[in-house]
Symmetry: none
Subunit: 434 residues, 2 copies
């Protein structure tokens, strides 16, 4: 948690940073306006817990998208439109003919039972930058493209489509709203049959930038203002099947069992121990488990469970998995069971951000008198898809106690304004560069 002293020191630093900010001709972001827009957005799909149920393709999602498009038009953005992948796009024209656009934005769909900051902060920060540029009457050389990605929470759908990585299989996946992604895209004005039409080709953008709440507690606990994201971790998933012998729980002596769930319990601990004891910032998680037949009076003969490993380096993920698989071989032998790992084809590869953009974000924070820290993103973001086609940067702002995907997530208005200020400055720095 941020201390009162931290707050005061930040305010003092703000004062010192005013000249640096003034150099750009921009006024500081309006924290009150940003908080007010977050509040307006939170009305769409508001639930009793103070969060939102605004899963992609729901009526709440549709209404929030219409609100955002109205706001974009009111800001004077041009060509406000929905692309084939359901993304909302709007342009602030540049002055230099043929200049590549700088794109920035995030998403406004939520998980079921979600909060009011995940994604939303990045969209509101992007719109705030437009207001700041308009107010200062600053023209950029590059066109500025604001984007609101569709269905981020359901598998980065919008950015997959925008970067040409959408597959027919993904279009068939059932969304949280209860309809296939294909039908969801149609519902929100996309065109799943013509995804190719709107693909952004590698090299077509000058840069992509995203502001997002940090979904861990690192910034909040360490009282740091801005996270300069080094990259977005890769994610690998396995289905793990443990096969023993189902037997009667009353008549099979304790020392004559091949209990698949007992072995699963040991494997869950082994995964945790290996992840804890291996140095690094990786994580490994077992989140799903099912025992068969699953009756209190039958020794489980089979257990199916998930294994997820995340890290910034693919080699690290594979190294951890190798350790786990080796340990499981020993464990299986001792428990009289077999353990099989099947890799699932929904993996996402690690995506590194652009080094030069990282430096510009850091310089922007420094110029504003804000503390910052290089860090990986443990969560997936649309930026990881964009990193395949454009130099990409990502700016984290603190989320109190690191809470996310929950009605309890909260980011202070001051921190949202910091994010918008860093975003604006970074955009201008990129625009100034040939």
């Amino acid at each position: 948690m941020r201390s009162a002293i931290g707050l005061i020191s930040t305010l003092l630093m703000f004062g010192a940073a005013a000249p640096a900010l003034a150099e750009t001709g921009l006024s500081p972001a309006d924290a009150g306006r940003m908080a007010s827009r977050i509040e307006m957005l939170s009305a769409f799909g508001a639930n009793a817990d103070g969060g939102v149920d605004r899963v992609a393709y729901s009526e709440a999602d549709l209404a929030a998208r219409a609100w955002a498009m109205d706001l974009m038009r009111a800001q004077g953005l041009q060509d406000v439109r929905i692309d084939a992948g359901g993304n909302i796009l709007a342009r602030r024209p540049g002055t230099m003919p043929g200049a590549k656009p700088i794109m920035f934005g995030s998403h406004i769909d939520s998980v079921p039972g979600g909060g009011n900051y995940d994604g939303d902060v990045g969209v509101i920060a992007a719109l705030e930058v437009i207001d700041l540029l308009n107010a200062a009457d600053i023209e950029t050389r590059s066109p500025l493209d604001v984007v609101i990605f569709s269905n981020e929470e359901g598998g980065l759908v919008g950015s997959l489509a925008l970067t040409g990585a959408m597959t027919p299989e993904t279009l068939d996946v059932m969304s949280a709203a209860g309809l296939a992604i294909r039908d969801g895209l149609k519902k929100i004005g996309g065109d799943p049959d013509r995804i190719d039409r709107d693909v952004v080709k590698p090299g077509a953008l000058k840069a992509f930038l995203e502001v997002h709440i940090e979904q861990g507690a690192i910034l909040d606990e360490e009282d740091v203002d801005i996270g300069v994201v080094e990259g977005i971790v890769g994610i690998e998933w396995w289905d793990v099947t443990i096969t023993g012998v189902a037997n009667h729980a009353g008549t099979t002596p304790m020392n004559k069992r091949n209990d698949a769930l007992l072995a699963a319990g040991k494997l869950i601990q082994t995964v945790n121990t290996i992840a804890l004891e291996t140095p690094g910032r990786h994580v490994a998680t077992v989140g799903r488990i099912k025992a068969f037949p699953g009756a209190p009076n039958v020794i489980p003969g089979r257990v199916e469970m998930s294994l997820e490993i995340r890290d910034l380096e693919t080699a690290k993920i594979e190294n951890l998995f190798d350790k786990i698989e080796r340990a499981s071989g020993k464990l299986a032998k001792e428990a009289g069971v077999s353990i099989v790992f099947d890799r699932i084809d929904v993996a996402s590869h690690p995506a590194l951000t652009d080094e030069s953009i990282r430096a510009k974000i850091a310089a922007a924070a420094q110029g504003l008198g804000l503390s910052y820290k290089l860090m990986p993103s443990g969560a997936g973001h649309d930026a990881q898809d964009m990193a395949r086609v454009a130099p990409t940067g990502m700016i984290f702002v603190p989320s109190v106690a690191g809470v996310s995907h929950s009605p309890k997530e909260f980011t202070e208005a001051r921190d949202m304004a910091n994010g918008a200020n860093v975003l604006a400055r970074t955009i201008l720095a990129i625009d100034a560069q040939d």
Copy 2:
């Protein structure tokens, strides 16, 4: 496993036993007919593994019950009916006015993914006895009541009802078929609101007898034909709820997790270790587990699982549970979770069989030239409820390798016939006694 030599010696003993069997006027049980009926029964709820999914109240259970009632009627049994507790009852009248009935039978519902012998053998043996008595034109003094208990695998529901031990709480328990026991009873023709109507009062029966496969491997491994059951272990069930904190699997560092599933894995091992290290013939099992929300990318915030402990002594069960509960308190503290045990009201108390009936079963086996052995039942059976209201006996026949609650369970036709022969002789011995 039974050796070929064992088989030959059994056949030789059979030859020697023929005169003893003839004394009763009964022909030997028809092993082929019994195997054929087992096969017919196995069609109801047959699954791809060669076993059955015939949990109580399922469509397969309903169909099997209808088949059994048709067979009872075809045998000339009278008053074939379903009682308030969902038990199927049928009577072969006796000759002595006012004589107490002798009841015998078992169950035909299965666990999920069950086999073709557990319960079924006892029902088919009971029906075989009726055929043998009919063929020999033997009348008994006592009426003979054949019973097929309802929902044995879901907590001895039918015998609880029949013996007046059913509680409203048990009626509310969710059954494996996905409906409350109360609604399940209605579905199969019972009357949960009038359970009291059909209660068998203590002393109302002359005896209760049940044939069942031995669900351990003792008879099979020691090549013994008949198990004379000394008593049935008590069973206690708990719902265990482990509550941690659900969080993002990507952004929550390994050392900042309150992972309910990790704690559950440790508790499963603790249960196993305590059961292994405490001297005795008790067993303790976790057979069911569910993690919430149950997604590969979310750290489980809650786990619900089952705990079952069995022993011939109630005090031993309580002592084991105390050890487990104490250990879980320490474990919960270390893991940053809470662990709550809720005792389920489907417990069954240890039950001793009647000494005089045990002697009659042993004498019947001896008279038939069969080897026999006194032994406890590690599995629960309806006989344990019946033991509260009637002198009770239980006859075990071997199950190959002791497998049960599995599609792989198998009892040879010869052994089923031995069980029916011992049952018939024991019934006649009880009937002959004033």
